[in-house]
Structures are given as C-alpha cells and as structure tokens.
Subunit: 183 residues, 2 copies
C-alpha cells in the first residue's frame, strides 16, 4: 500500500534526506512511502508564474495514486498544523481513504491558540478558544478518527520533540501498519 507522506517537512533545509528517512521507516513496516518532494525536478521546467500550479497538480496526482495519508500535524507557523497538510487531510477524508497523523508537539491546541491570540489585533481578542484538550482544531482529530479509528499520535512521554524528529512518526507508521493488517 502507498502512503502519502504529507507535512511541512518539504520546507526543511534537508528535505530530501528527511523524506528518505521517512520512506525507509515506512518500508520497515510494509508500507511504500511517497513524499511530495520527489517532483521538484519535473516542476522546475514550468514557466515561473505556473510553478505553484505545477506543484499543486503533482501533489494531487500523487494523492490520487496513494491508498492512505500519514500526515505530520506538528504546529507550523501558528497554533495549527501546516495549511497544505490540513487541506490534504481533508481531501483524503472526502475520498474516504484511511488517514493517520502525528504531532511532535505535546502542548494542547487551546494553549497554543491562547499564545497566538495575544499577537492578534484588538478586534480578535474576544474570539473563542476551543477547549477540548485536543491537539488541534476538532476537525483535525475528527478527520483522523473517522479515517482510521485512531487518535493523532502524540509524544507518549508528553515531551515536545524537535520539528524534524522521527520517533513519533515511527510510532504512527507502526500503528497504521497494524490497523491496515500489514503486521
């Protein structure tokens, strides 16, 4: 089975090595990992104004080819996970394909939302903060639970990992493999 490896990992300085390491972990558990990164060479031949469209199309094509998603839901530039990753998780939910997700962050969404709230313009200070003790906006754990029956995989020791650490990813892959009957 092919797993779409969604996440802002593509923006890491060592994105290629990171993708390789993730694909290797997937292989250990009987999954074929596909990282959206692989297409960069093809995309660079597009006219400059169309590069982003080429990346979009390639990512959608790769999602079409994959059987499931394993999403890096670690918060990225704000209280929530990366925007592109969230959109992709929603796509898999709409298609009814399995959804697995993990986060390297041990603090709750409500805690991170309150921290971001302080930086908002005055008119936004009164905006309600969801307080369900969840790792992100309820639609995110909701999608993962509907898509796999599982919760978002979090650090079991409640210690936040560096953004590029892969031990929580590996726990998530192991759970996915078990859920999919691969082990």
């Amino acid at each position: 089975m092919k797993a779409y490896l969604a996440g802002p990992d593509v923006f890491l300085p060592n994105a290629a090595q990171n993708a390789e390491a993730k694909i290797k972990i997937c292989a250990t558990y009987g999954l074929i990992g596909r990282a959206p990164l692989e297409d960069v060479a093809q995309i660079s031949t597009s006219p400059p104004g169309d590069v982003w469209r080429a990346i979009f199309r390639k990512d959608i094509e790769m999602m079409e080819e994959c059987d499931l998603i394993i999403a890096n839901l670690t918060p990225f530039r704000g209280a929530s996970a990366d925007a592109g990753t969230l959109l992709e998780v929603g796509w898999f939910l709409g298609r009814g394909k399995p959804i697995f997700g993990y986060s390297n962050c041990a603090t709750s969404f409500s805690e991170r939302s309150r921290a971001q709230q302080a930086a908002l313009p005055d008119q936004m200070q009164a905006v309600a903060v969801e307080d369900f003790g969840l790792p992100d906006n309820l639609m995110v754990p909701g999608a993962v639970e509907q898509g796999s029956g599982l919760a978002v995989t979090l650090p079991p020791d409640a210690l936040t990992r560096p953004f590029n650490a892969l031990d929580i990813f590996e726990i998530c892959v192991a759970q996915a493999a078990q859920r999919l009957g691969l082990r």
Copy 2:
C-alpha cells in the same frame, strides 16, 4: 443551491448575527447559506467528552448536504487560514464540489510566514518560505482554482479589512453566483 459557509466566524462573540448576515447576503444572490453554527443546541445534549465529536459529525453532515463551499480564508492564529476551514476546503476538493474562498487580509502568505518564523524555535529558522505571492500555502489557492476556476477573493483596494467585515465575502458570493449561473 446550498453553500456551506466555512470559517472561524463560529468563534466570534457575535457568531449568530454574523451567520445571519452572511445567509442574508447569500439569499440576495440566489444561494442558500448554511452556517455550521446552527447545530449548537443539538450538540449540547452530548456527553461532555463527546461534544467535539458531535460537532465534527454535524459539520460533516452539513457539508454532505451542501452543493458548494464559500470559505473564509482570512488568516487565523498564525500565517494561514483556520485549520478546520482548510480541512473542509480539502474535503470539498476531494468530493469534486465547487470551492469559493475569500480573505480580508491584503498581505501575502510569504510576508505573514516570515513574521511567524521569527517566533519559532531555533531549529525552525532555516525552514523555507514559499514565495509565490499567493494569499496562503499554494494548496489553498490551488484548491479554490481547481474547485471554481477562480482565485481567492481579496480586498480589491489592497487594504486589510477587520476580521468580521463582510464586503469581501459579498464580492466572493457575487462571483460564485455568476460562476454557478444563478445571475
């Protein structure tokens, strides 16, 4: 046609009036607006630990009933749009239903990403910033363009509106109605 009115508007202190105003604007353009808000009364009967699941299920049911989405993509607690809204846009993309979106924010995603970058832990300072002059991560305008052939509706005068202003929403609804052949 029924339009799912996605957005973090549900967190506003005057969420009910905001939803009413949006539904009224939709009606002017021949669209039936549905705001996820309407379900609060039904949901409050769920056991406390299950409230978020009840909200998730109700939102998905409402999405199933709707023919298109009009998403408030104004940045929310970070560089990007609200997490739940992004997930819902992805769901409509996966289902192949029309997608319209707007943002009250006139600054680019790259500018907002750089501002957020400064607040990130050291290990994240080297993370690449997408620089396509787009209003959000490329998957967001990509989804809107694939879902309607249109760009994300932005302030035509390049002036950021307050979060709850509805004039850009109205431009977006007018464009949607035209695109859908309602006017």
